[in-house]
Amino acid sequence: MAAVDDLQFEEFGDVAASLAANPDATMVSIEDPGETPKHQPGPPRGSGREEDDELLGNDDSDKTELLAGQKKSSPFWTFEYYQTFFDVDTYQVFDRIKGSLLPIPGKNFVRLYVRSNPDLYGPFWICATLVFAIAISGNLSNFLIHLGQKTYHYVPEFRKVSIAATVIYAYAWLVPLALWGFLMWRNSKVMNIVSYSFLEIVCVYGYSLFIYIPTAILWIIPQKAVRWILVMIALGVSGSVLAMTFWPAVREDNRRVALATIVTIVLLHMLLSVGCLAYFFDAPEMDHLPTTTVAPNQTAKSS
């Protein structure tokens, strides 16, 4: 199967450089992979690796653009249309998670791992896991801070789940939407080589949140220094994934706009993580405590 695809790409390889914008070439490529959509998602692991190496070449943007045509085969009201967003195998999801944890300098997350097959499985379930990880470990850390105090009455604080869900899902969907709109607008002014679809941006944002799951679990440790070191590491890793992914998309633009975009992306990311740390982990539940526990409460706060 992979060999057939390679042949097909070879066919266009020589003309693709000159006819990148030729609609006829794109149309043909829609037809052929569309006939065998079942074989496309699940190649054996070995051949997937080969494709990986191939696509790391410098002319991969044409190929991925051609491949992107196969997505639009069924209309949006059918169930099959939505199945294309969940068309991933276990090893692909693991590879993407690994890619978001270990960013390689100079490599692009979308081109390296997503490769025109953006999935919504990862973003959705990573967000869901993160919501519960933050809510539950925030609750546990609150419990550990007050451990041993006779007057402390444990409460599950179930309300935090809904707040965390609102914050995380809003971040993982609205920021990509705004970024996509912004990149579209800039693309209409300055022609960029790299342009991302909305789903690719959502995919990158979803997977970039993965590192916060282990971070949130480790945030249970009620030590301020440990927490801030953890948040710095997580920010460095996922922020660099985001920056390296979106830098090629704005590189051709005005230097000031490009820098401002990247800085905004990283700042929003920082706002999310620091905000979560401050709201879910550092806020002592004053209103649940009787006034007699103010003094130990302050010692817990300072520690």
Partner: protein
């Protein structure tokens, strides 16, 4: 269909007799196989009417449904390769379990708004919305299981956790302390593992092998959250 079947024998008899009489005779006497085929669904429908819910006593109806639900409970408690839970799905069991769980998770105090435990509606929504999301997820991943079958399995597999909730409430009647908590933790972990094993025994086969982990992970998260709610319950 009947016309086509009787056509081979038709010319011989039709020539010797009047047309209409012959046709009616033939259709009765010669077309036994066709007639038989037609009456097979009829007979089963008659059998259905015999045991229909219209003329049996209310007690029988209720007992039959309860027996079906109870049989499925047994399947969950002793999970093995069987299709009963998948074939005749119903949502009565999940409804009973979900309401029981949500009622037991209610706190006695009036100001339960303040102590931050899950409300009845929150438990209800988490169970049903979670089950629907997991089902949609497995359908989107390409699993060959129907929507309600999956809902039924996920709902019935809450049974061990409902039992854990019952045990926790009984344990909480005793003196609170670390031992009390350890007992509850142990019960909830065992029942959580039980729920996972039972639901994966029924659901895992419906997925292609290279996506099994992707379909099982949400189930794990779902039961983990319910277990967390049960473990953190304090009256």
């Amino acid at each position: 269909m009947a016309e086509a079947a009787e056509s081979p024998g038709d010319p011989v008899t039709a020539s010797s007799r009047p047309l209409f009489a012959g046709l009616s005779d033939i259709s009765i006497s010669q077309d036994i196989p066709v007639e038989g085929e037609i009456t097979i669904p009829m007979r089963s429908r008659i059998r259905e009417f015999d045991s229909s819910t219209l003329n049996e006593s209310v007690q029988n109806t209720v007992m039959r449904d309860l027996k079906a639900v109870g049989k499925k409970f047994m399947h969950v408690l002793y999970p093995r390769k069987s299709n009963t839970l998948l074939r005749d799905w119903d949502l009565w069991g999940p409804l009973i379990l979900c309401v029981t769980l949500a009622l037991m998770l209610q706190r006695g105090s009036v100001d339960s708004e303040k102590d931050g435990g899950p409300q009845f509606a929150e438990v209800f929504v988490i169970v049903w919305f979670g089950a629907v999301t997991i089902t949609l997820n497995s359908k989107l991943l390409g699993g060959n299981i129907s929507f309600f079958q999956s809902l039924c399995v996920l709902g019935y597999c809450i049974l061990p956790l409902t039992v854990a909730m019952l045990v926790c409430r009984l344990v909480l009647l005793a003196e609170p302390g670390p031992i009390n908590f350890m007992v509850r933790l142990f019960v909830v972990i065992v029942m959580f593992a039980w729920s996972i094993v039972a639901s994966t025994a029924f659901l895992a086969d419906s997925q292609p092998p290279n996506r099994k982990a992707l379909a099982v992970y949400p189930v794990f998260l779902f039961y983990f959250v319910i277990s967390w709610m049960i473990l953190t319950f304090t009256p």
